[in-house]
C-alpha cells in the first residue's frame, strides 16, 4: 500500500455554507481515490468579489495570507471553488510582479506572501498523472449515456496569463475528465460565457437571462445535464433555472452537477454521500432514469 497522496485543501467560504455538497463530494471522492486533503489551518476568505472591487490591496492580501498559511504545509494546494482558485493565482502573480505589494503585505501581516507549491483547481487535480491513473482504475459505474455540457465559467480560464489553464476560449480539460468517467461531453458555444455571478443579488433579471442563455445553449446542443466547478455558477444555473425557463416559456430541466459529484457517482458512491439531494433543480430523477442511482 503506497502512502496517500497529500494535498493542502482550501475549501473557501462557499464550500462551508451554500455549496456544502461541493465540499462533501470533493472530500468523499478524495477518500475514494486514496488522497489526503488537509485543510489549510486558519484560512481566510479569498475576498471574492467584495474585497477586490473595494480595495485592490485587500483583494490580493486576503488570498495571499491563505497562501502564506499553506506554504508552511509544504504541499500543493487544491482550491475547488473557481473564484477562490482565481483569487489565489492572482495573488501569487501580484506578489511576483509588485515588490511594493510584498512590502505592504509584510508590514500588515508580518508574513511573506510566498507559496512555492502549485495551486490546482479540481480539474487539474483529477488530471494529475497519479490521480488520473487511480481514477481510471476505480471507475465502477461508468456514466454511460449521460450527455453532460461542461460549463467552465469565467474564472477557471481567465485571465489566461495568470491561470495558464487550458484554452481560454475553447477549453477541453473538463470534457476530457467527463470522458474518463464514461459520460459524453457535449460541446457547446457557451462554455466560458458569464453566468452573471454576484449580480444575482442586485440585478436578478439579468442573471435569469444570462443563466437562461447558457442552459438553453446546452440543451440545444443535446445536453441532459450541466457540470460546473464554481458555487456561484451553480447557484445561478441551478437556483435560477426555474425562473429562466419561465421567462422564455421553454422548459429546461437540466440538473446542474458539481464535477466532483459526477466523479463520485462514477466511483460508485451513493448520491446521499455526495450531497445530491441538496440541489434545487432535481438532480436525482435523471440519474435514476439512466440507472446511475
Amino acid at each position: 500500500m503506497t502512502a496517500p497522496l497529500r494535498y493542502a485543501y482550501y475549501p473557501g467560504c462557499s464550500l462551508h455554507s451554500t455549496a456544502r455538497e461541493y465540499d462533501t463530494s470533493t472530500r468523499a471522492v478524495a477518500r475514494a481515490l486514496g488522497l489526503s486533503l488537509e485543510e489549510v489551518p486558519d484560512w481566510t476568505c479569498c475576498g471574492a468579489s467584495s474585497a477586490h472591487v473595494t480595495d485592490p490591496f485587500l483583494g490580493f492580501a486576503l488570498p495571499a495570507r491563505t497562501l502564506a498559511q499553506a506554504s508552511d504545509m509544504g504541499l500543493d494546494l487544491v482550491a475547488p471553488c473557481a473564484a477562490c482558485y482565481g483569487r489565489l493565482v492572482a495573488a501569487r502573480a501580484e506578489a511576483g510582479r509588485h515588490p511594493d505589494f510584498v512590502k505592504r503585505f509584510e508590514r500588515a501581516t508580518g508574513r511573506r506572501p510566498a507559496f512555492s507549491g502549485r495551486i490546482l483547481n479540481v480539474i487539474e487535480l483529477f488530471a494529475e498523472p497519479a490521480v488520473a491513473a487511480t481514477l481510471k482504475e476505480r471507475v465502477k459505474r461508468p456514466l454511460e449515456g449521460l450527455k453532460v455540457a461542461p460549463y467552465y465559467g469565467c474564472l477557471l480560464v481567465r485571465p489566461p496569463k495568470v491561470t495558464g489553464f487550458d484554452d481560454p476560449e475553447r477549453p477541453v480539460a473538463m470534457d476530457r475528465l467527463l470522458e474518463s468517467l464514461g459520460a459524453t461531453p457535449v460541446d457547446f458555444a457557451f462554455k466560458t460565457e458569464c453566468c452573471g455571478a454576484s449580480l444575482g443579488i442586485s440585478r436578478k433579471e439579468l442573471v435569469v437571462e444570462l443563466a437562461g442563455r447558457i442552459l438553453r445553449a446546452a440543451k440545444r446542443a443535446g445536453a441532459e445535464a450541466v457540470a460546473v466547478v464554481c458555487p456561484l455558477c451553480h447557484t445561478n444555473l441551478d437556483g435560477r433555472q426555474e425562473a429562466a425557463a419561465a421567462s422564455h416559456g421553454e422548459p429546461l430541466g437540466l440538473p446542474v452537477y458539481y464535477v466532483t459529484e459526477l466523479v463520485g457517482l462514477a466511483l460508485g458512491l451513493e448520491p446521499a454521500a455526495l450531497g445530491l439531494g441538496k440541489h434545487l433543480t432535481d438532480a436525482l430523477g435523471l440519474l435514476r432514469q439512466k440507472k446511475l442511482a
Binding site: D167, P168, E169, R170, A189, F190, E193, A217, R220
Partner: protein
C-alpha cells in the same frame, strides 16, 4: 602635434537654441592642437563647406572636426569638402551635437557642457586619425530575385528591361504568388489574374530572365557585386523539355489532396500544376502524397504521358549562379486564425478565411465563382466579415495593422452583394483604414451604393444555432451589444512573415524585426535597401502591403539594382576590420560574432628560432566586412582593429572625456 580646425554648427536654432555655441567655441580654442575655430549657421550649406576648404588652406589644417548633426546625414558631405581641399577624407571627424545633445536635452547649461565634451572627444580622436584609401571591387552584372510573386515578377521585369540579366527563383511549381489566388483587386475591381498573367508570361519569355520554379535558394556567399548563390532545383518528376503541358497526367492521377492554391477549398492531384494559367505550365509530382513514392506501385502518369516526360527517378540538382545584387521578394503568410477559439475556425465549417473567400468568388475557383458555403453548398443569405483577426491585437495576435484587410473585406462585401442581390453583408471593424488613392471613395460606394452594413466593434464570439452562425459584438457606436445571425463568417487574418522568413534572413545576413519582417536600411530614406549592401527588398517580406505599394516598391528596388549593375566596379569603404597577424592567436572567437560572415581562418607560415612553423590566424574579407566592430570586442589578443575606429582612437576619446593621461608605455 597635428594642426586641427574645428567647425561648430548652429543648425539654425536646432543646435544654437539649446547649446551656447559661442561658449563651446571659446573652450575649444584652448584645446591642444586646435589652431582654428569657426561657427557657422549652417555648416552643410555651400558657404559653410567653402569656409572649411578656405580654412584648410589658410591655416594649413591637418585634421578637421565638424560638430553638427549625425554622421549618418552629412559625414559624406564634409569628407568630400575635406578631400577637395587636398586632405585625406579620413582625417575628418564628426561630433554629433544635435541628435545626441541639443535635441534631447532641455537645459542649456548642461547641454552646452555636454556639447563641449563631445567636441573635445572628437578632437582627441581626430589627432590620431590615419589616412585611409578606398579600394575597388568589380561587379557581376546579373541580379537574383528571390520569390516569384507580383513583387518578384515586377522587379525581375524592370531589371531585365533595363538590359541586365536576372535569375528569378520561385519555390512553388508556378510563379504568380498570392496575387494569382485573388479574384478582383481593389479599388478598380479589375480581375487579378487578367492583369497578372501577361506579366507572368513576359517574365518566363524575357530573354534576360532565367526562371527557376520549384526551386529554393540554399546558400548565399560573397558580398555586394560578387554573390555566389546555390539554388536547389527540387526534383519535378517531369522532364520540362519534353512535357507539352497537355494535362493528361493530372486527369489520370488517382490521388486527390487538398489544394494549397485553393486554400483548402478544392482539391488537386498528386501530380499537378497549381492553376490553369500556371507558368511554366509543367506539372510537379508531390512526392509526400504520390502513391508510387509511398507504395512503389501506380505509375499511371507515366503510362499515359504521350511525351514520355515523366521521370520518377529524377533527383534534386544544385545550380550555382554568380550575381551582383539580390532582391528579396519572399512575400507573406497568413495568421493562423484558429488561435482565436472564440471565432470557431476549424470547428464551424462555415467560418472561413478571406483567402478562402477569394477562391469562392473566383470564376476559376472550386465553385466557379458562386458564393456557396462549405457546409451544405447553399448560397448564404447573409455574411459577416470580421476584420483584424490577429492584427492590432496585443493579447493574441500582432500589434501592427495589416493594411490591406479593410479594403479587401470591403471588396468582398461588395462582391457578395453583387452576386447575391437579396443577401445582407455585415462588416465588423475597429477602424476602417483607407489611405490610398481612390480607397475612401471605394468604401463610400460599398456603404451607399452596395448597402454593405458596417458595425464598429470587434466581435467577442461566433457561435452556432442550428444552421446559423451568431456573431456577438458590441456596437461601439450604439453603445450596446448586438447579436447578428448570419449564414457564413469570413475572417480577415493578419499578414505575417513567411514562416521561414527568419531562416532565409539568416542565410542572407539581412536583419529582421521581432515578427520576422525584413528590415529596410532606413524607414524613410532607404526603404528598399537592407543593411547588407547589395541586398534589396520588395513587397510584403518587408511588412504588410497591398498590390499597388508592392509593385511600387518592387520597381524602386529594381531601380536600385540597375543603378548598381550599371557600374563596372565600385569603391569600397576602407573602414573595415584588419588583423594584426603577429598578435593573433588563431582562436577565431571573432568568427561566430561576425554578423556578415566576413571572418575566416587562414594558415600563415613563419620562421621561429630558425624553424619554419605554420599556424592559424583570422583573416577578414574586406568585401563582406561592414565595419561594425563586433570582432574587435571579441578579440582576446587585441589583434583585431577597425580602421577609422581603432582601439587607440577610441581610447584617446574616452581618456579625453575622463581627463586621464595614459602613460606612453601602455598605449598599445
Amino acid at each position: 602635434m597635428k594642426r586641427v580646425g574645428v567647425f561648430l554648427c548652429w543648425c539654425g536654432s536646432n543646435i544654437a537654441g539649446t547649446v551656447d555655441v559661442g561658449k563651446v567655441a571659446a573652450e575649444v580654442r584652448k584645446l591642444p592642437g586646435v589652431v582654428h575655430v569657426e561657427e557657422n549657421k549652417y555648416t552643410c550649406s555651400e558657404p559653410g563647406q567653402a569656409s572649411i576648404i578656405k580654412a584648410i588652406k589658410e591655416h594649413r589644417l591637418e585634421r578637421v572636426v565638424v560638430a553638427s548633426c549625425s554622421p549618418r546625414l552629412h559625414e559624406p558631405t564634409f569628407r568630400r569638402a575635406v578631400e577637395s581641399a587636398g586632405l585625406n577624407p579620413y582625417y575628418f571627424e564628426m561630433a554629433n551635437i544635435r541628435e545626441q545633445c541639443s535635441w534631447i536635452h532641455p537645459d542649456k547649461e548642461t547641454a552646452t557642457a555636454k556639447a563641449f565634451d563631445l567636441v573635445r572627444m572628437a578632437v582627441a580622436k581626430a589627432l590620431r586619425n590615419e589616412a585611409l584609401s578606398r579600394g575597388t571591387i568589380t561587379i557581376e552584372k546579373k541580379a537574383l530575385v528571390i520569390g516569384g510573386g507580383i513583387a518578384g515578377i515586377q522587379a525581375a521585369l524592370d531589371i531585365a528591361d533595363a538590359g541586365q540579366k536576372v535569375v528569378l527563383v520561385e519555390r512553388e511549381p508556378s510563379i504568380g504568388g498570392r496575387m494569382s489566388q485573388l479574384d478582383k483587386t481593389f479599388p478598380t475591381l479589375d480581375c487579378s489574374q487578367c492583369i497578372l498573367t501577361p506579366k507572368m508570361v513576359e517574365a518566363a519569355k524575357h530573354p534576360n530572365i532565367t526562371l527557376y520554379t520549384w526551386s529554393e535558394v540554399e546558400k548565399v556567399e560573397g558580398y555586394i557585386g560578387n554573390f555566389t548563390v546555390t539554388i536547389r532545383k527540387k526534383a519535378r518528376g517531369v522532364d520540362e523539355t519534353l512535357c507539352t503541358g497537355c494535362g493528361v497526367c493530372q486527369t489520370k492521377c488517382p490521388t486527390k489532396v487538398p489544394s494549397e492554391f485553393e486554400a483548402g477549398m478544392g482539391t488537386r492531384k498528386a501530380i499537378y500544376t497549381p492553376f490553369p494559367q500556371a507558368v511554366p505550365n509543367k506539372p510537379v509530382i508531390d512526392r509526400a502524397n504520390c502513391t508510387y513514392y509511398k507504395t512503389g506501385k501506380c505509375r499511371v502518369c507515366e503510362r499515359f504521358c504521350e511525351a514520355k516526360a515523366i521521370r520518377l527517378d529524377q533527383e534534386d540538382t544544385l545550380v550555382t549562379e554568380r550575381v551582383g545584387a539580390i532582391v528579396m521578394a519572399t512575400g507573406f503568410d497568413l495568421f493562423d486564425v484558429s488561435r482565436y477559439g472564440e471565432y470557431g475556425y476549424g470547428v464551424y465549417p462555415d467560418v472561413i478565411t478571406s483567402l478562402q473567400y477569394e477562391r469562392l468568388v473566383n470564376a476559376s475557383g472550386p465553385t466557379e465563382g458562386k458564393v456557396k458555403r462549405p457546409s451544405d453548398h447553399e448560397i448564404p443569405k447573409s455574411v459577416a466579415f470580421i476584420l483584424c483577426v490577429g492584427s492590432r491585437d496585443e493579447q493574441k495576435g500582432t500589434t501592427y495593422c495589416s493594411r490591406a484587410c479593410c479594403m479587401y473585406s470591403i471588396k468582398h462585401a461588395m462582391q457578395y452583394r453583387d452576386k447575391v442581390k437579396d443577401g445582407r453583408a455585415f462588416v465588423f471593424y475597429m477602424d476602417i483604414r483607407t489611405p490610398g488613392k481612390a480607397y475612401e471613395e471605394f468604401y463610400k460606394r460599398a456603404a451607399v451604393d452596395y448597402g454593405v452594413e458596417f458595425i464598429r466593434g470587434r466581435p467577442a464570439k461566433v457561435y452556432q444555432v442550428g444552421d446559423k452562425l451568431v456573431v456577438k459584438a458590441e456596437d461601439t457606436l450604439l453603445g450596446r451589444q448586438v447579436e447578428v445571425e448570419v449564414d457564413m463568417v469570413v475572417l480577415a487574418p493578419a499578414m505575417t512573415p513567411r514562416r521561414d522568413a527568419a531562416k532565409v534572413a539568416q542565410v542572407l545576413s539581412v536583419s529582421y524585426d521581432g515578427y520576422g519582417f525584413l528590415n529596410e536600411a532606413h524607414p524613410k530614406l532607404r526603404p528598399v535597401e537592407t543593411n547588407t549592401a547589395g541586398i534589396f527588398l520588395a513587397g510584403a517580406c518587408q511588412g504588410p502591403k497591398d498590390i499597388p505599394d508592392t509593385v511600387a516598391q518592387a520597381s524602386a528596388a529594381a531601380a536600385k539594382v540597375v543603378a548598381l549593375l550599371a557600374k563596372d566596379q565600385m569603391e569600397t569603404e576602407p573602414m573595415v576590420a584588419r588583423v594584426n597577424e603577429a598578435l593573433c592567436s588563431g582562436c577565431l572567437w571573432c568568427k561566430p560574432v561576425c554578423p556578415y560572415k566576413a571572418i575566416d581562418a587562414k594558415t600563415v607560415t613563419e620562421k621561429v628560432h630558425g624553424k619554419v612553423v605554420s599556424r592559424q590566424v583570422a583573416t577578414v574579407n574586406a568585401g563582406l566586412c561592414h565595419g561594425c566592430g563586433a570582432c574587435t570586442v571579441a578579440c582576446r589578443d587585441g589583434a583585431m582593429n577597425l580602421s577609422g575606429f581603432t582601439n587607440e582612437q577610441l581610447l584617446a576619446s574616452v581618456d579625453e572625456l575622463l581627463g586621464w593621461v595614459r602613460p606612453a608605455c601602455s598605449a598599445d
